[in-house]
């Protein structure tokens, strides 16, 4: 099955992602910011699908949009303060921060501009979509076994840490 109208989808999804991302950092209300972030995440999942990475796209939605963001929303609702909406949203160093970030952006653009010849333009057809999940599974449980186990350990530690942090009395 050949992809249909790739550029349209690409530009649509990336513009959505970037617009939502801008909304994340500009919205006054944290819930709006979180919902915008979900928009970004879902658009990125679409981009992953376009990159023939369906497993990563699914994980992105299941874990990121469905798990992590629900956690975010949960916490925002718990700590949501009306007074927070009336406060100044940006810190005192925002000019410096902005300049630094834009400098970084300039640097990145410079690198991309300079180095665009090093990327091959045509894609290798080495990655069939159909076997994507199997291959990732084999890689995860084969070559990256140790990393995988360490990641699971990390999750355990994070779980303990989160419980310790959030519990009222231990």
């Amino acid at each position: 099955m050949s992809p249909v109208a790739t550029p349209v989808f690409f530009y649509g999804l990336s513009i959505t992602a970037i617009v939502f991302a801008v909304a994340v950092i500009t919205r006054r209300n944290a819930v709006h910011a979180a919902l915008s972030l979900i928009g970004t995440l879902v658009s990125l999942a679409g981009l992953y699908l376009m990159l023939y990475a369906p497993f990563v796209a699914a994980v992105q939605i299941v874990l990121y949009a469905g798990g992590i963001m629900v956690l975010f929303l949960f916490v925002i609702m718990l700590v949501n303060l009306d007074q927070n909406l009336r406060q100044i949203q940006f810190n005192r160093q925002w000019v410096v921060g902005l300049i630094a970030a834009l400098a970084l952006g300039g640097l990145l653009l410079f690198v991309i501009r300079q180095g665009k010849e090093i990327f091959p333009l045509a894609y290798s057809a080495a990655l069939p979509e159909a076997a994507n999940t199997q291959q990732i599974g084999i890689a995860l449980y084969g070559h990256y076994m140790l990393a995988f186990e360490i990641a699971s350990l990390l999750l355990l530690v994070a779980m303990v840490g989160a419980v310790v942090m959030a519990k009222k009395r231990i």
């Binding site: 718990l78 700590v79 303060l81 009222k168 009395r169």
Partner: protein, 383 residues
Amino acid sequence: MSQPIDTSFLDLDSKDKTFLDSTEMVLNMGPQHPSTHGVLRVILKLDGEKVLGTECVIGYLHRGVEKIGENRTYPMFNPYVDRMDYVAAVSNGLGYCETVEHLLSVEAPPRAQYIRVILTELCRIASHQVWLGTHALDIGALTPLFYAFRDREEILKIFEKYCGARLTTHAFRIGGCIYETYDGFEQDVRKYCGFFLPKLDEYEELLTTNRIWVTRTKKVGILKPEDCIALGVTGPVLRASGVKWDLRKAQPYECYRDMDFEIPTGLNGDTYDRYLVRIAEMRQSVRILQQAVEAIPSGPIMARVPKVIKPAVGEVYHSIEAPKGELGYFIVSDGSTQPYRLRVRPPSFVNLQALDTMVRGMLVADVVAVIGTLDIVLGEVDR
């Protein structure tokens, strides 16, 4: 002169506070809420889902029944009492009639007493059925409601045949009953007893051993016996806490003296025990019905009561065991045809006091279960 230093602004306890303590939620339950059984309004202070405190706001159904009583003659007020606990109207009438009879020092003839007992016990079953249905609905079981109402219909049919009314019956009069039983009354009651016991088993099959029901009701809304007595709680709620107190035994009225029945009591005083006690009470009511209908004597049904009821100057308090607890009437007579003061001690009103004690530290869902298990009727609470 040393002044005590006010340290409250330091908020020394803040270490124990949770993040939600600082933003405690105040939830307004009612007066228009599906499970506050009418127009009760409960203001809940919540920590997440945990209840920190409650406050009941009552009076949305206040109709000034007591004041109306002061402006009506004794027989004229009789129908009004039916409107207090409208799911157990017969009991209300019985309490009022007996109190006035005490004021007049008359006693209903034996046949009237038996008719009264039969109807009152039927009414107790009907009231408990309404309780069972609504309580189960509050906890989320839809079906018992319909089963209970289907079977209650049979009782209402007997009421209708007896006095023409189903809900607010006005069945009794001061001094006895005004209606003789209809043909086949005893037969109907006997038939009902046979019909109802299997149905009761059916309810129990649905709920008693249902795991969800048990987990939802056990250890929920525990009321200790001493708390019950301190709060003045009566009726099945008191008995479920293990206090064997039933006015039908403690100060027998009508012909309860001749009846052989037991007072079911609970052990833990939790919602499950209250459920079991009420179910057992229905069985005991059937037992009383079976005895009463066999032993019903013949004779007059009305004592000799003056045409114009003008009790002597004095006061009387008399209470009966209504389905929901002790239903008392206190009447002060100034010798005229109208009471000088009439005060009702409704069981629901007093039992409702226990709500706060029962739900502190529980979850929101338990508040609903506890309101259901207290079996309040707002008509009676607000009067």
